[in-house]
């Protein structure tokens, strides 16, 4: 069951990645980037529970923190000015 979930997450990741490349405005691309970060965290934790790996879970926590920081800074930079 967990392997099926991982395959579905991978298919969703591919569709969102196509949408990231073909997006019309910059905000749609940022939205797709946010979704890619969340889906990667979901893929990592599913793999960690499937194989009973304790250390991989720490990578998921670090990845979620890095995704949050990079998206906030990128959005503030593109929006411009000191807001």
């Amino acid at each position: 069951m967990l392997k099926t979930t991982m395959i579905v997450i991978l298919i969703t990741l591919g569709i969102v990645f196509i949408r990231l490349i073909r997006g019309k405005s910059i905000w749609e691309k940022l939205l797709s980037l946010n979704l890619i970060a969340i889906l990667t965290v979901m893929l990592i934790i599913t793999y960690a529970v499937d194989n009973q790996l304790q250390l991989v879970m720490d990578i998921a926590i670090a990845y979620s923190i890095i995704g949050f920081l990079s998206l906030i800074l990128l959005t503030k930079f593109i929006a411009g000015g000191e807001k």
Partner: protein, 91 residues
């Protein structure tokens, strides 16, 4: 049993969100479906994994991941939506 039902719910939300982000046009309709994946699929998936992993330290780490994503995800969506709204207002 409960974990498998929750996994099926998470997979259906993932598929609905993927179809929605492909079909809808514009920033604000896409935000509607991306939040579907962000909150609902993530919550049900982590609850199912917590039930499947049992009562050990892995379950606590899953709870930390869930708490962090629930705290930070509305902030990201709010910042992106506010910037897009400011740009639409100026045009």
């Amino acid at each position: 049993m409960i974990a498998n039902i929750l996994l099926v719910i998470a997979m259906s939300f993932l598929i609905i969100g993927a179809i929605g982000i492909n079909r809808l046009e514009g920033v604000f309709p896409k935000l509607l479906t991306s939040s579907l994946i962000d909150t609902m699929a993530m919550l049900t998936l982590i609850l199912a994994l917590m039930i499947k992993a049992g009562w050990n330290s892995m379950s606590i780490k899953l709870g930390i991941v869930m708490l962090f994503i629930l705290l930070t995800n509305p902030v990201i969506n709010h910042v992106i939506t506010q910037a897009a709204h400011e740009e639409h207002k100026n045009d």
